[in-house]
């Protein structure tokens, strides 16, 4: 075997690869993007646990002692404020201790303790919190506490209605169908640009605006039909079909805009794939979060697909209504319009 020839070929291929500006750019951008995602994600395991508490008699030394142990007790001025915080998912659990807690304990009576749990806390986590509170009571009183605990799930109580894995995967499937449509639309436009057919189209009475409308409608309709077909097959329209239709339409608009953007930077099928995969990896993170809850935190909301995925998840799996997902749909609309506008501007530059 002539290693000199082989190494010469390898050097040649490397040279050709990096002479191709697309491959060079995507290689570098890919590394940058994946590194950025890596660094955005938490760097350490969070070993602290924060809960909200309303306990008028709670002493600071105890709070500090618990904080040192990793249990952060964030005190609220009123039970109502505590409930609001749990309802808004600022805390998974809130504990409200009656003002006469210590007196009743001293009198060997059972003091009342209200435990508020956010509705998306899984049952196993609820058990963990119950255990934690018993331990906490032991620390406060120096002995097992006889308390009258009342547990209340704030929001829609989803106890006993765990989501089967396939339902958790549904938003992921929907997102992937839309993303594949992005690639399809982008490659179609890219082929038209490279093949010169777009030039031929634009020398007819057809205006650029008309072309964008046609492509936008085609892309949106194709994406919507595909994802709607999936939802119809799996029974995704059984709850609040109008919300699902709205969300999928907005999602289709979003990926159409993305398709325009990919087409504006891509030169051929390969480069469409390259740019498209970058986008897919990013947009696939929110559905992965539904699939594996707790994987990521609030930063995921900067990714536009979150609002589609969360809406589909909330409606299909929990029967959420307009009031629950209205803000999601508004955010999705804003992102979709922004993507479409950016896509049109970027692609239009290429038509000149």
């Amino acid at each position: 075997m002539n290693w000199q020839m082989i190494s010469a070929l390898i050097v040649k291929d490397l040279n050709l690869y990096f002479k191709n500006q697309f491959f060079a750019l995507v290689t570098v951008l890919g590394i940058v993007a994946y590194a950025a995602i890596y660094f955005i994600m938490p760097t350490t395991v969070d070993e602290t646990l924060a809960i909200g508490i309303f306990a008028p008699g709670l002493t600071n030394p105890l709070v500090e002692e618990l904080a040192a142990e990793g249990l952060i007790l964030n005190q609220f001025d009123s039970e109502a404020a505590l409930k609001t915080a749990v309802l808004e998912k600022e805390y998974p659990v809130g504990v409200a201790v009656a003002p006469d807690f210590m007196q009743k304990l001293a009198a060997d009576e059972k003091p009342a303790v209200n435990i508020y749990v956010a509705n998306d806390v899984p049952p196993e986590f609820q058990e963990m919190y119950a255990l934690l509170f018993r331990e906490l009571g032991f620390m406060m009183a120096g002995r097992p506490l006889a308390i009258q605990a009342t547990e209340e799930v704030l929001g829609v109580d989803r106890a006993g209605s765990q989501i089967p894995p396939r339902n958790r995967m549904l938003p992921l499937f929907a997102m992937f169908i839309l993303m594949v449509e992005t690639l399809g639309l982008a490659s179609l436009i890219s082929m038209e640009i490279e093949g010169g057919t777009l030039e031929a189209l634009l020398i007819t009475p057809l205006k650029v605006e008309g072309l964008f409308i046609a492509k936008g409608l085609f892309g949106t309709a194709l994406a919507f039909v595909q994802v709607a077909a999936l939802m119809a097959i799996v029974g995704g329209f059984s709850r609040e079909p109008l919300i699902i239709v709205t969300a999928l339409l907005l999602g289709s608009l979003l990926v159409t805009g993305l398709g325009f953007m990919v087409a504006s930077v891509a030169k051929d099928m390969m480069s469409v794939m390259g740019w498209g995969i970058l986008a897919i990896v990013t947009l696939a993170l929110p559905p992965l979060n539904v699939l594996l809850p707790g994987l990521v935190t609030n930063w995921i909301k900067i990714i536009p697909s979150y609002y589609l995925v969360d809406t589909v998840h909330q409606v299909v799996n929990f029967g959420a209504g307009w009031g629950d997902v209205g803000s999601n749909l508004l955010a999705l609309l804003a992102f979709a319009l922004a993507f479409l506008a950016l896509g049109v501007v970027a692609l239009r530059r290429k038509f000149r």
């Binding site: 010169g196 057919t197 031929a200 634009l202 020398i203």
Partner: protein, 285 residues
């Protein structure tokens, strides 16, 4: 005769490179103008400005009385463009390609088969374009440029690299279109084709029009008419050239026949290529 195309001081540059340098010309309705020049001379850029694909940096182009910059879509309703490079939908059939463009032009009762027959593609309309030869694709390109029965036809190197059958078919269509009354702007660097087809020719070099007239007038102005004789001499063949239109021409011809044994005699005139070289100092390639 009114002018179908009027260009006044058309100028275009790509960055620092001046591609078209303030050119002006008119093309009358029903006329074929051959626009000749080597690669990179500015032919395609001129076509792009005339067809509304590029906005001139300076100057003005008017087609059928309409300003191309101000009303590009109105102009494009009445023109047909056959591009230099094939840009057909290869996965679609020839008929589908034509019907698509007929719809874009709003042509009613469009007969794709009739148009395909005109360019010699009858019976192949249902075949995918990707199965066509280069010549067939080019004929389809010409057919596509005719779907709207254009008043002005722009043909960019329509016969370049084609087989004689395809070239002849395209030339026949060009002449038929002129018969119909269409104005034809023929871009080529094939001087023979330009000579055969064009009413007038314009030479463009380095972005400037360096000559514009009928082929005949250009030959009169720049060419040397001569006769070329093949004579038998010393057991072999030799050649004599006698330039016409001189005072001593008649005497030279008489001497040729009296002193030499003339085998063949041909009249020679300058080709457009000769004239182009004479004017620009370089060839067309």
């Amino acid at each position: 005769m009114t002018d179908a195309i009027v260009a006044e001081g058309l100028t275009y540059s790509y960055g620092q490179l001046l591609a078209v340098d303030s050119i002006s010309f008119n093309v009358a309705e029903g006329e074929i103008l051959g626009f000749l020049g080597p690669n990179g001379a500015g032919k395609s850029t001129t076509v792009k400005m005339l067809t509304g694909q590029l906005q001139p940096k300076a100057g003005q182009a008017t087609l059928l009385g309409l300003d191309v910059v101000k009303k590009p879509k109105k102009v494009q309703e009445h023109i047909g463009v056959c591009f230099e490079l094939t840009n057909l939908y290869e996965q679609m059939s020839a008929a589908e390609n034509l019907k698509l463009f007929a719809r874009l032009f709003g042509v009613k009762n469009f007969d794709a088969d009739a148009l395909l027959k005109r360019v010699g593609l009858d019976g192949r309309g249902g075949d995918r374009v990707e199965t066509y030869s280069k010549g067939m694709k080019q004929r389809l390109m010409v057919a596509r440029s005719l779907v709207n029965t254009p008043r002005i036809l722009f043909l960019d190197e329509p016969t370049e690299g084609l087989d004689p059958t395809s070239s002849a078919a395209i030339r026949r269509v060009i002449l038929e279109e002129r018969e119909r009354g269409a104005t034809i702007f023929l871009t080529t660097h094939d001087m023979v084709e330009a000579d055969k087809l064009s009413d007038r020719v314009a030479f463009i070099d380095k972005g400037k029009i360096v000559a514009l007239d009928t082929p005949h007038a250009l030959k009169q102005r720049y060419g040397k008419r001569m006769i070329k004789a093949e004579i038998a001499k010393n057991g072999g063949l030799e050649y004599r050239e006698i330039v016409l239109d001189r005072d001593e021409t008649a005497a030279d011809v008489a001497a040729l026949f009296s002193d030499e044994k003339v085998i063949t005699l041909h009249s020679e005139e300058a080709t457009l290529e000769d004239i182009f070289m004479q004017i620009t100092g370089r060839g067309l390639v």
